[in-house]
């Protein structure tokens, strides 16, 4: 999937049971996101941001409704099909980086490529290219414990783009970083969006982080509040 992927959310409802009570986290949500656009997903805690991200990424399934990515309704896929779909179409960036501590940076980036039909040499070359893109060529053989938080997150971004997915989902990617490092990571996401036409959906509480996005989606109590264009979006730092 190299074309920018549109994302359509059609009447999606998702409920969770907690303490004997049913919480309606997403309530017949409808929205459309254009391919190749950088979206920031904002809203108060419990508004359904991460749940929406999980549904779009195929990590969770909706109770009702359709999640259509690049024309494919992933709500109909079985868990095995979803796993394969994720491997080919989505890259994840988590708040806590979630790198495997026993593997080096390059091995972490190679992980999703194990599922691609390429040989070992191609896999290694592709992982090295992704690490070059995030500016970590000199840290390829370091383990996560030997990297700074910003470097770890850049490795995670390299892992997310290694398989050339059309959609990158980021859950509070700068939550654990200082401001300078956070800006570097956000600039990197912006670069991926602008130069590689990745559709990026980023959950954040930080208005400063949201300001790097093209559009800001506001969720409230499981429903779409509004989608704002972001006129204050800073220019991408040259790389």
């Amino acid at each position: 999937m190299n074309q920018p992927a549109d994302i359509e959310i059609r009447h999606v409802t998702k409920c969770y049971s907690r303490g004997g009570q049913t919480l309606r986290v997403l309530d017949e949500l409808d929205m459309q996101m254009a391919g190749g656009t950088f979206y920031a997903l904002m809203g108060p805690s419990g508004s359904g941001k991460t749940t929406l991200l999980n549904l779009v990424g195929g990590l969770d399934t909706a109770d009702q409704g359709e999640v259509v990515i690049a024309g494919e309704n992933i709500a109909q896929l079985s868990s095995g099909q979803l796993a394969r779909w994720r491997a080919n179409n989505v890259g994840f960036v988590f708040q806590g980086f979630n790198l495997l501590p026993v593997l080096t940076a390059r091995e972490n980036v190679e992980l999703p490529l194990l599922l691609a039909p390429i040989n070992r040499r191609q896999r290694r070359a592709q992982a090295e290219r992704a690490l070059e893109l995030v500016g970590l060529s000199d840290r390829m053989n370091h383990k996560p414990s030997e990297l700074s938080g910003g470097q770890e997150q850049r490795v995670a971004i390299a892992r997310a783009i290694a398989t050339a997915p059309s959609v990158i989902l980021a859950d509070e990617p700068t939550g654990d970083l200082d401001r300078v490092t956070a800006d570097q990571v956000l600039e990197l996401l912006q670069l991926l969006n602008q130069q590689l036409k990745k559709t990026i959906l980023m959950v954040t509480h930080d208005p400063r982080a949201a300001s790097f996005a093209d559009k800001i989606v506001h969720l409230d109590k499981g429903k779409l509040g509004r989608i704002d264009d972001n006129p204050t979006r800073p220019a991408t730092a040259g790389r």
Binding site: N54, G57, L59, D60, S79, G80, A83, R84, W85, R86, A87, N88, F92, F94, N98, L99, L100, P101, V102, L103, E107, E110, L111, P112, L114, L115, R159
Partner: protein, 389 residues
Amino acid sequence: MPIKLMLRNVLAHPLRALLTIGSVMVAVFLITLLHAAVAGLDATLQQASANRLLVQSAVSLFVDLPLSYQQKIAAVKGVEAICKWQWFGGRYEQDKGGFFAQFGVDHDTFLLSYPEIEIAEGSAAGFTTERTACIVGCDLAAKYGWKLDQTVPIAGTIFQRTDGKPWEFVIRAIYRSSKTSIDQNTMYFHYDYLRESLETGGARGPEGVGVYMLRVLPSTDTLQLASAVDALFENGPQRVQTTTEAEFNRQFVSMLGDVPGLLKLIGSAVLFAIFFAVLNTMIMAGRERTRDSGVLKALGFGNLVVGGMLVFEGLLVCGLGAIAGAAVVKLLEAPFQAILSARLPGFAFSTQSLLLGCGLAMLIGLVSGIVPGLRVARLTTVQALREVD
């Protein structure tokens, strides 16, 4: 890469991995040892002769039979030869802390009745013609460095000489056994030497015979013969019990209790203890790596792969333990065989015992891996990612 990841995960906690591998190694060694001991007991019983019967007191093996029984038993149809056996229970003067069995036997029928006893040094004639002669097993001779024609002083405990001196036996033959049912650590001497000493007042102790061994003529119904011998003394003065050699050996072993059962029980206890230790390690490993499993699932790896990695990790740890255990078995095979063969002639570390030990270790690894493997496989990606270490 998944194999590399599994190896790195195992090596991430080197001390824990080493201790787990070490415990599996000990378990494999112990199971192999215990299985070899049980198999050794069985082999000893299996090799017992089918054409030999043993007559003992119906009360207990520790109650002697009268000497007068010999002629009556010998006259029963089907008895080819009869040989007295009397437990001597002495102590070697130069090694009073050590132990080996000594028996007074009928020198003229003993070697004829036991064709599995082969003379390695000296001669049968040397043993049969001299009153104080004895024949010793080659392992016993090697243990004490005994040579042919050497006099061995044995202090009596049941049968004590009245002059206070030890008994003296001259080694006229050294034997080796072609069957494990006869060990190579025993001394046999003339029963007549003992009897005459008792009769002439040269020694004191109980008069009588421990057991009579009957060599049965070919094509004789041994059960019928045993019944006939038992019937002879049904009205006393001492009732007897006649059994096959295999049954006699089995009863002898069971006097100590259910030895094979006890050994199996110990083996099972070891197995369970190690199983829980490995299971605990693997559950800890599974819990520590729940988030990693979530990451793998998010990247597109299926439940089977993610769960399977923990199963293979369990197999890997136990496999390494099994290899280490097999190495220890090979290393200690010779010394253990030397120590145990005296009391358990059939004892041997067989390939079957080793395979059983290794197989059980792998089974432990499999089950210990399946438990945490199933857990992470069943978790949804979101649940796994939310897990806090």
